[in-house]
């Protein structure tokens, strides 16, 4: 088996917060193989977007990043400097952002914004880059692509802008595409179109795709593997079917229970919610971060559970005991 696109072990991201440090990501392991779709799910503030930004080297200056192992597209990025990131961005690594309304430069033509990346990183001529841009715009579903290269972002709708962003990310023919909540800012009807498009492109181009979302419906539709994140750690990871059929971590089970199922969830019934709130991330956090909100917590939860090796891993004492 070839080397995975991303091999991350014990990723830690922290920020200065007064006298202490805010530990936003607290030891995260993540692997993505070539052509694989991994969905990283979790609620707001659990550190999923920070993880994505750290994979692009785009964290704010004051963030401190450390990792036991950090291999990205075959390069060791554990102690990467800004120069090292320049070797990956637009050269095998691309990203789609959350809000297409603000992610395009309002004063530059879309043709220029599409082509400048590959002209700078891939040494393509302007004509070759424009030909590729037209081809990709048609592929992502923008009609009369050639005539729209001279237009500006404000002349496109929200959904079209996210299609532009996807085309832009694909210009450099990436091997790993990171999509950080690419549908959150869009209308529900457009969301489905964009996701279908992403799934198709992933399959056709054999992309490695890291899709970050808090929408489990999205996950069920396109994920090969799922990683569930809570308070800066991955609490459960495994093949999508396993996670949906047999969620092992109490947090994952809570998330699944909160999804309404048409026909099965009674109309007007309150959806089950997970009680309590996310723990503060300043300073050290001992044991399982979820135990305060967990309905099945036991005294052993004060110590963090070991994660067994295997395709489906769960960071929970009870899950370990229950496993065959």
């Amino acid at each position: 088996m070839s080397e995975p696109l991303l091999d991350l072990e014990d990723l830690r991201i922290s920020f200065p917060a007064g006298p202490e440090r805010l530990n936003a990501v607290r030891g995260l392991d993540l692997r993505i193989g070539a052509g694989e779709t991994l969905c990283l799910v979790g609620e707001s503030g659990c550190g999923k977007s920070l993880t994505a930004m750290s994979l692009m080297g785009l964290l704010p200056r004051e963030a401190q990043v450390g990792a036991g192992r950090f291999r990205l597209l075959g390069r060791d990025m554990a102690r990467a400097r800004p120069r090292d990131w320049a070797g990956l961005r637009g050269r095998g690594l691309s990203m789609i952002f959350q809000d297409p309304m603000t992610s395009l430069n309002p004063v530059l033509g879309v043709g220029r914004q599409l082509t400048e990346g590959v002209i700078a990183t891939g040494g393509l001529s302007r004509a070759a880059a424009e030909a590729r841009a037209v081809e990709l715009l048609e592929r992502v579903g923008i009609a009369r692509a050639a005539s729209r290269l001279g237009q500006y972002p404000h002349q496109f709708s929200g959904g079209q802008r996210q299609r532009l962003m996807i085309a832009m990310a694909l210009m450099s023919r990436p091997r790993l595409l990171i999509a950080d909540e690419p549908t959150t800012a869009l209308d529900v009807t457009i969301q489905a179109q964009i996701l279908r498009l992403l799934a198709e492109l992933q399959r056709d181009l054999g992309l490695g795709l890291l899709l970050i979302t808090h929408d489990l419906g999205v996950v069920a539709a396109i994920a090969d593997r799922v990683a569930v994140m809570y308070a800066g750690r991955i609490v459960e990871t495994g093949p999508a079917a396993d996670i949906f059929n047999a969620p092992a971590h109490p947090y994952t089970r809570g998330l699944m229970a909160a999804i309404p199922v048409p026909g099965r969830t009674p109309r007007g019934a309150l959806l089950p919610a997970i009680p309590g709130r996310v723990p503060g991330l300043t300073g050290r956090l001992e044991g399982c971060a979820f135990r305060e909100r967990c309905s099945v917590a036991v005294p052993a939860c004060a110590v963090r559970a070991p994660q067994p090796a295997g395709a489906h891993r769960t960071e929970c004492h009870l899950a370990t005991e229950a496993a065959p």
């Binding site: 785009l58 637009g90 395009l104 430069n105 004063v107 400048e116």
Partner: protein, 306 residues
């Protein structure tokens, strides 16, 4: 773009028209011009004679149309004090002020733009703090004091430049530097704050994610957005500099427009004052219109490309 251009030009024309009425009316608001011309020693009969000789007894509208008709044919009237055509007097003063103001503007911009960008790259860094100190100094130190000190140090002590007048090109150095020093801070600070805001924007992050080199991200993605407010400010600043500085022209003994305006006011030389107000207003209207057009060229959303 063409529609936008036409619309801006129509607006500019209307503003000029309103300004011409106001500047003409100003003279009557300030008091009876006939008495002013007759002087403090003049009798009521003298004033009456002046009123008829200058046509002040006619209705306001007639006087205005008469005046604006002459203005449009390039005749700004005769100076009461010099008894010379106003165009000739202004023609000898305006170029001096234009060169002085233009050079000061270019000098201020040449410092403000790069310094503002560099300060924004590392906010609160050493360079940013030094730039802030420079900006605060430039805004706080009165230009007459700075001008006098500059004359003492560079003119009297070291003798590097002439102490007054514009007989040689070296004469321009001190007044241009002093003018630029007071005009620079505002432009530098607006460049800095614009750049800081834009550098934190999502589209700059997109540009970096594409793998563009840092220089290209800063100059073609960030700067183009950050200069929009600077253009509007710079148009006004240039207007201020081109209208001439009474203080600087007095300190450096320069016969520019600022001094002429001040002296003419003291002499109640109304045609000259009127003409200067009209010309400066037209310059302002021209500059702000030019600034708007430049911004429309920079930002497709303003010009309504579609």
């Amino acid at each position: 773009m063409l529609v936008y251009l036409l619309r801006r030009l129509v607006v500019a024309f209307c503003v000029c028209l309103a300004v011409s009425v106001l500047s003409f009316a100003l003279i009557f608001l300030a008091g009876d011009p006939a008495i002013a011309i007759a002087g403090s020693g003049g009798s009521a009969r003298d004033a009456e004679a002046v009123r008829i000789a200058y046509g002040f007894d006619r209705p306001f509208a007639v006087q205005y149309l008469d005046w604006i008709g002459h203005v449009l044919t390039g005749d700004l009237g005769r100076s009461i004090y010099f008894n010379m055509p106003v165009t000739e007097i202004i023609g000898s003063r305006l170029p001096v002020t234009l060169v002085l103001g233009g050079l000061a503007f270019l000098a201020a911009l040449a410092v403000a733009l790069p310094l503002g960008i560099l300060a924004a790259l590392k906010p609160e860094g050493a360079l940013d703090r030094a730039a802030l100190l420079l900006a605060v100094t430039g805004q706080a130190v009165p230009s007459f004091w700075l001008g006098l000190m500059a004359i003492v140090v560079f003119g009297v002590w070291t003798g590097w430049v002439p102490i007054s007048g514009l007989a040689s090109w070296q004469g321009y150095i001190l007044p241009v530097a002093v003018l630029a020093f007071s005009a620079m801070p505002a432009m530098m600070r607006i460049t800095r704050s614009g750049m800081i805001e834009v550098l934190g924007s999502d589209y700059v992050r997109t540009a970096r994610a594409k793998g563009l080199p840092a220089g290209q991200v800063i100059l073609s993605h960030a700067l183009r957005n950050a200069v929009l407010p600077l253009v509007s400010l710079a148009a006004v600043q240039l207007g201020v500099l081109l209208s001439g500085s009474i203080v600087i022209e007095s300190v450096f003994a320069i016969n520019g427009l600022g001094r002429l305006a001040w002296e003419s006011l003291l002499r109640a030389d109304l045609p000259v004052v009127q003409a200067i107000i009209l010309i400066l207003s037209a310059v302002y209207v021209l500059l702000t219109t030019a600034g708007d057009l430049l911004n429309a060229w920079l930002d497709p959303r303003i010009r309504g490309a579609g």
